[in-house]
């Protein structure tokens, strides 16, 4: 942990990140050849000077498609050395650190792969300990016809996971609020229309399509110079997989508390269907994204971030894998162990959400909001 904190950026290094981004935006603003690529360049063109907050905003509007890098007449080895995706990736990662809470945990962003493994082991241990604490030892290895609450009472599960989840959501919302305060000076103009617009952009991942002539999406230059939609597809699988799994859990909660219908739910029930489909998305999407990251152009990739990105994706994959395994073997004696492992990974996911790659969703959305608001003016 101490080592991780040391790697967090000091003040002067942060100034360097902002200065470099400012230098690049000045060059880009005098060139403007990239205005057709994504949201960043039209957003940049709306202003002539760039405060640090503006740069944090633009960095989070950039999604690292690399289109501008390959098209750039000033890319290294040109003496202007313009590499916007890389400079923005560095700055973006730094906004993740700067806007999380509490500040001393910010260093976790650096060593995220390690953190995820530690928390997962800890989470599984904790869940096992809880089971042993509340249940006779033989319960975990017994057969319960898919009834999870025979192993862990519903209330224990709901309160422990609920409180961790609420903590994560609280930190994320706090980060969102602080980021907006610093990067969106005119948020008073927020309208239902700009919220709807930004939400649309986020849901369809508009800019990942690469922009094209009237709806003809060319795709992004990721993972290589040729145009491709592959990253958007994997990202959508991850995103909708996550949302479906989340919907499955929420629906289960509604079933339990509103209708008094207790788990286990049948294989064709809505919560299980959502969870299964979402789970499959969360197997393919994260694996695909990890693979793309491995083969991506090293000239634009920011290596220091790899741990954070991969840690989060690996965790999503494991949550899904263990969840599906639990579903498959829930009527056997392996259920207790699988449940402990699955819940351990879920606990790790919740705990690391505010300190890992998940936060990009929060700041990207804030950036999309400002973008939509300014587009209308």
């Amino acid at each position: 942990m101490a080592a991780a904190s040391d790697e967090a950026l000091q003040g002067d290094q942060l100034a360097d990140l902002h200065d470099e981004a400012r230098r690049l935006m000045t060059i880009c603003n005098a060139c403007r050849y990239c205005e057709g690529f994504c949201g960043v360049f039209p957003a940049m063109m709306r202003q002539n000077t760039f405060a640090d907050g503006d740069l944090d905003y633009l960095a989070n509007l950039c999604h690292g498609c690399n289109g501008c890098y390959y098209a750039c007449q000033y890319a290294p080895p040109h003496e202007f050395a313009v590499n916007v995706p890389q400079a923005f990736a560095r700055l973006r990662a730094d906004t993740y650190r700067r806007y999380t809470w509490p500040g001393f945990l910010a260093g976790l962003f650096q060593k995220n792969g390690t953190l995820v493994s530690v928390l997962m082991a800890g989470g599984i241990g904790l869940v096992l300990a809880l089971i042993h604490l509340f249940q006779p030892a033989e319960v975990i290895h017994g057969e319960h016809a898919g009834n999870f609450y025979a192993v862990i009472p519903h209330n224990v599960m709901a309160y422990s996971f609920g409180s961790v989840f609420l903590y994560a959501v609280g930190v994320l919302l706090f980060g969102f609020w602080r980021f907006r305060r610093d990067t969106a000076p005119s948020q008073a103009d927020e309208t239902a229309l700009s919220v709807a617009g930004a939400t649309h952009d986020a849901l369809v991942m508009k800019y990942m399509g690469g922009g094209g002539v009237r709806g003809k999406m060319d795709g992004c230059n990721y993972p290589s110079e040729s145009f491709s939609q592959v990253r958007r597809v994997f990202h959508q699988m991850t995103f909708w997989g996550f949302l479906l799994c989340f919907a499955a859990t929420s629906l289960g909660t509604v079933y339990h508390y509103v209708f008094g219908w207790e788990a286990p739910y049948g294989y064709t029930s809505l919560p299980v269907l959502f969870g299964t489909v979402g789970g499959i998305g969360l197997l393919i999407g994260p694996l695909g994204l990890i693979y793309l990251k491995r083969i991506a152009d090293p000239n634009v990739l920011v290596n220091a971030q790899r741990g954070m990105d991969t840690g989060f994706l690996a965790l999503l994959f494991l949550v899904s894998l263990t969840g599906l395994a639990l579903l498959g073997w829930r009527e056997t004696s392996a259920m207790g162990t699988l449940l402990a492992i699955h819940l351990g990974t879920v606990l790790a996911l919740f705990l690391t959400m505010p300190y890992g790659k998940f936060v990009h969703a929060v700041y990207r959305y804030a950036a999309l909001l400002r973008n939509r608001r300014e587009q209308k003016r």
Partner: protein
């Protein structure tokens, strides 16, 4: 890296838009093609690296142009900017052949963007490349690779073997040694000679030392010289080129579009003596670009300074380098190393002429010819003549930035190089074709219309590639 082949059907010299149009066309017609690009891969593509759009004739609006641009209108525009100084027959041919330019490029992977901000008002006549010229090159080279075209970088053609008016082989410097490559036809798409300052001096004298090269530093005109030495006929004069006013602090070469400064029409332009020397408000486009590069070349040290005040400083595109800034004209003169008294007098005289009567019904309107002119001032400023009186004051140092030279070889409609025959009659080369900047002088005797360079490259490149492939199959 493997060495060069000993023999191919077609050699293409150069690696820019014209070269790749020729290479792709020749390969699509079945010829084996070797592209010899003098620059390293990162700097490939000549001035195409820096272009943004192509001016081409079209009959209707499309996804990326806002309206029709008929052949006749294009031709009239060309006659106007060149003041008739062009091969009229070849020009009209070029424009007619440009009709399918965008389709041809799109079919080879080039992506266009919808007309967006229209910064220079060309969204009807010109199609804009998504990401600019380097993205075009990426698409061309990717297509070339798929088709099996052999592209070599840092491969500099030193000399051509020409016997009885026919090309037989090229001497190529590659990986530290010289080698001979035989071919049945050659396309010279090797650009102008703007990066050879000594050659520029033949047209401009010592002033050429003060020029900056906007485009690639690899265009030194070696092939043009070789052809001229072999008796090729030439087109355009040595002092004709595409030159614009760019920031004096730009790199010597390869600064591209970002170094241009758009302050001129809202400014007063003064020379080293702090004197005005031309009507800054004459026109927006194309004069702002077309004439100021040449005007600066004729000033002392080939430099001048655009002076604006706080009112005008946000009216034009932001610049790459920050302007020099001061709270008084005297202080600004100090920063620009100009005589403070002289600059104060020039600004005062100008301001007095702005306030002179006759303009009472005129309003300052950026973006259109507003007719707000000076009275009794020489030279006049005929539009946007606002007083310079609101601090802070800004100064932009500007120099001549040369994009490309026009002097080149004469070609016919088959893109064949024209040689002087023994009896003084013109003879078309049997298997030597040329395209791009090296033939631009046939079309551009002077002046420029934005995006026409790409059209010259594309049209003659395709024709050259077709002819070369035909030669190879005979």
């Amino acid at each position: 890296m493997k060495g060069l082949p000993e023999k191919v059907d077609v050699i293409v010299v150069g690696g820019g838009g014209a070269a790749m149009a020729a290479a792709l066309t020749a390969r699509e017609r079945g010829a084996s093609v070797l592209v010899l690009e003098a620059a390293p891969k990162d700097f490939r593509g000549g001035n195409t690296r820096h272009v943004r759009n192509i001016r081409y004739a079209h009959d209707a609006a499309t996804d990326f142009v806002t309206g029709p641009y008929p052949v006749d209108e294009y031709y009239d525009d060309l006659l106007r900017v060149t003041q008739g100084n062009t091969d009229k027959d070849l020009s009209r041919f070029l424009i007619e052949k440009s009709l399918d330019a965008a389709d041809w490029m799109a079919a080879r992977g080039v992506k266009f963007q919808p007309p967006l901000s229209g910064t220079i008002g060309l969204d009807r006549t010109n199609a804009f490349f998504k990401g600019g010229g380097k993205a075009v090159l990426n698409a061309y080279y990717a297509t070339a690779e798929k088709l099996g075209i052999d592209c070599r970088y840092e491969a500099e053609v030193m000399d051509l073997k020409i016997e009885d008016g026919a090309f037989t082989a090229a001497r190529v410097k590659y990986q530290g040694q010289e080698q001979t490559v035989e071919a049945r036809a050659i396309v010279l798409a090797s650009g102008g000679y703007q990066a050879d300052i000594d050659w520029l001096k033949e047209g401009w004298g010592e002033a050429a030392e003060g020029f900056l090269i906007r485009g690639t530093g690899y265009n030194k005109g070696r092939m043009l010289r070789v052809l001229m030495d072999h008796g090729a006929e030439t087109a355009a004069d040595a002092d004709q080129c595409h030159a614009i006013a760019i920031d004096a602090r730009s790199p010597k070469c390869d600064g591209g579009i970002a170094t241009r400064v758009d302050c001129v029409i809202y400014s007063i332009m003064v020379n080293r003596k702090a004197q005005r020397f031309y009507d800054e408000g004459e026109d927006i486009w194309p004069k702002r670009y077309a004439i100021w590069g040449r005007l600066l070349a004729k000033q002392e040290d080939q430099i001048a300074f655009g002076i604006v005040d706080a009112k005008a400083n946000d009216l034009f595109m932001p610049s790459l380098y920050p302007p020099l800034k001061a709270d008084s004209i005297r202080d600004l003169a100090g920063l620009l190393e100009l005589d403070p008294d002289a600059l104060e007098k020039t600004v005062a005289d100008y301001n007095a002429a702005c306030r002179g009567g006759g303009n009472k019904d005129r309003e300052f309107k950026p973006g259109v010819l507003d007719g707000l002119s000076t009275e009794g001032l020489s030279p006049a400023k005929s539009n946007w003549a606002q007083t310079i009186d609101t601090p802070p004051y800004y100064g932009y140092p500007l120099r001549t930035g040369i994009t490309f030279t026009y002097l080149g070889v004469k070609v016919n409609k088959e893109a064949r190089v024209q040689f002087k025959g023994k009896d003084g009659r013109t003879v078309s080369a049997a298997n030597i074709f040329a395209a791009g900047e090296i033939v631009s002088g046939n079309i551009l005797g002077q002046g420029y219309a934005g995006g026409i360079g790409m059209a010259i490259g594309l049209v003659f490149g395709r024709i050259a590639g077709e002819g070369a492939a035909r030669n190879a199959s005979n």
